[in-house]
């Protein structure tokens, strides 16, 4: 996307963190939407905010977007303290795309954008609208009434609207919710394009693959912030590095084979998926899981040891834990803690 019309706001890159949240809490009467949440987001970062339904993600976005007042705690958004007095100025510096794009369906795409350009008091409105529509590949639909657009295209119009004011921070609340895979892929492409241009994006989602693909860091939220970090960091924090080995027949003395190998801390027989290819106990082989301290040392040593023990090595692969594994692990812990 070209953003040659970017305002001086973008040209003079802001310094300091884009968002600082410190002990923020929001309650609706007795009900806590989120509690004691603290994190920060750097300018140019794509920050993913994950969590199950009702975890407080949308309420957090609405609070940081000055739509809801926090019950306690502090935050700074786009360099300004989150206070009622700063509401107008904060909203001038950010853009929020809610889960539902909220378009005026009787108006055309261009009329929708023209209206919002007016609310932001933008100059060169025609040029900005054209650039925003080009960014989301909708320039040829500018005159179409929004009611004639598919859900995916409406989402794109919502994104174009959010880009109109060249915001310092772009809040995207579930931008692919309800979209088919093709439309979701389109939106991913657009977000990825924005990321490459250094736009700060705060993305709430419960599509974990989406977060893993697009986000520099993620926070996992379930009323409280459960963890925060880069997806690979989180995987390492939660899951030990392992190496999975499959042999055609069980080893006679696995302990003798694996004990003392460089980079290997321990081992156990793999019991899962017995009927699968190479699954332990299956007709076709035996499986072992080695816990590692150093994968680069361990893998060749383990391969040599298995072959040296006279076994046929069918497969040797480092374990891979996705962000989904991390997410499910944390949310499962919460569920267990609540049912205890």
């Amino acid at each position: 996307m070209k953003r040659d019309g970017a305002t001086t706001r973008t040209a003079a890159a802001p310094t300091g963190p884009a968002i600082v949240v410190d002990g923020l809490t929001k309650r609706f009467g007795e009900r806590t939407a989120f509690a004691d949440v603290s994190f920060d987001v750097a300018y140019g970062e794509v920050f993913g905010f994950l969590g199950p339904n009702g975890a407080g993600k949308t309420t957090t976005v609405r609070t940081l977007g000055t739509l809801l007042a926090p019950t306690s705690g502090n935050a700074t958004v786009a360099g300004l303290p989150l206070t009622e007095a700063n509401g107008v100025e904060i909203r001038r510096r950010i853009a929020v795309m809610p889960e539902s794009p909220g378009l005026y369906l009787r108006l055309s795409v261009a009329e929708n954008l023209e209206f919002f350009a007016g609310l932001y008091e933008l100059d060169d409105r025609r040029g900005r609208i054209e650039r925003a529509l080009r960014a989301v590949n909708l320039l040829d639909r500018a005159g179409d009434p929004c009611r004639a657009l598919s859900k995916g295209l409406r989402q794109r119009v919502g994104l174009a609207r959010a880009l109109l004011s060249d915001p310092q921070i772009l809040f995207l609340d579930e931008p692919t919710s309800g979209l088919d895979p093709l439309a979701a892929r389109d939106v991913h492409g657009l977000i990825d394009g924005l990321r490459r241009q250094g736009v700060t994006i705060f993305l709430t989602t419960h599509r974990l693959a989406e977060a893993e693909a697009l986000c520099d860091r993620v926070g996992i939220m379930n009323t409280t912030l459960r963890t925060i970090g880069r997806p690979d960091e989180l995987r390492e924090q939660l899951f030990a590095k392992t190496l999975q080995i499959t042999t055609r027949t069980p080893l006679d003395d696995p302990d003798a084979v694996f004990a003392g190998l460089p980079g290997v801390e321990g081992w156990h027989a793999r019991t899962a998926d017995p009927g699968g290819p190479g699954g332990a106990g299956g007709a076709g082989g035996a499986g072992y899981v080695l816990t590692l301290s150093d994968a680069e040392l361990a893998a060749p040593a383990a391969a040599r040891a298995v072959v040296g023990a006279g076994a046929d090595l069918l497969a040797l692969s480092p374990s891979h834990h996705s962000l989904e594994d991390v997410y499910l692990q944390l949310i499962d812990e919460d569920v267990e803690a609540r049912t205890r």
Binding site: M97, G102, R106, E114, E121
Partner: protein, 250 residues
């Protein structure tokens, strides 16, 4: 700085008016309301006045003329009520309120834009209907009826009260709209709530309150003050959090 003391952005207010007017034009319900209701409220008194015999006593003429003009006053009272009651709850129902509230628009600007967008077409339609009424009566009614209708205080009252009645209806409609969760309920309540000021117009129309220039200006001023106060009060009622969460402990 207090939100009510902040300078208004006429750019934002103009954007709101333009959007609203564009939306009305394509909203069948609102377009029909704006087109059909005023014609009905104009044709009916014209027919009544045409039926008056040439030798009707002055008191009878006075009553019929008063009623006819009151009927015309229903246009600025009812037409904007329907539109204004849609202003906030309609946006909320169609999911457009949240994106608007995430922009720098202030409640005072948002509400003033909505109000002016309802007022401008109302004035246009009301004065147009009044003009057609005067033209029809002037051309075809009996001379004594024409004389009664074309009295300066009557014309002044009609011109003056039209925007002020519309203002009342608009603010009442918007106030109900900010508190309502259903468009139809808001429209029904607003239609009822827009009627009380017509009582004053009726008293003037039926000569209970003598329609002198002083009375007309006094009542007009009172309605103007009420309209301005209503804008301020409704602006303070406009609470982003309650509007988004619907007052529910979501």
């Amino acid at each position: 700085m207090n939100a009510l003391q902040s300078p208004l952005s006429w750019t934002r207010i103009r954007a709101l008016i333009r959007k609203e007017v564009n939306d009305y034009r394509r909203n069948r319900f609102i377009a029909v309301t704006m087109a059909v209701l005023p014609v009905v409220f104009m044709i009916s008194p014209v027919i009544t006045i045409f039926k008056l015999p040439a030798d009707a006593p002055a008191s009878r003429i006075d009553t019929v003329v008063g009623l006819s003009l009151l009927y015309l006053m229903l246009i600025p009272a009812l037409v904007p009520a329907v539109v204004a009651s849609y202003a906030v709850v309609g946006e909320r129902e169609q999911g457009t309120l949240e994106p608007v509230l995430t922009t720098p628009v202030r409640p005072t600007e948002f509400l003033l834009g909505k109000a002016l967008a309802a007022l401008l077409p109302t004035l246009l339609i009301s004065y147009l209907m009044y003009g057609v009424f005067l033209a029809a009566v002037g051309a075809f009614a009996h001379e004594n009826v024409v004389h009664d209708i074309f009295q300066a205080p009557r014309i002044l009252a009609q011109l003056l009260f039209t925007p002020l009645l519309a203002g009342w209806s608009i603010w009442v409609g918007i106030a109900i709209s900010t508190r309502s969760s259903d468009v139809r309920v808001a429209q029904q309540l607003s239609s009822f709530a827009s009627l009380p000021p017509l009582a004053v117009a009726a008293l003037v129309g039926f000569d209970v309150i003598k329609p002198t220039l002083t009375v007309a200006l006094g009542l007009g001023l009172a309605l103007l003050v009420i309209d301005v106060l209503a804008w301020r009060v409704v602006s303070t009622l406009f609470h982003r959090e309650r509007l988004l969460t619907g007052g529910v402990k979501a």
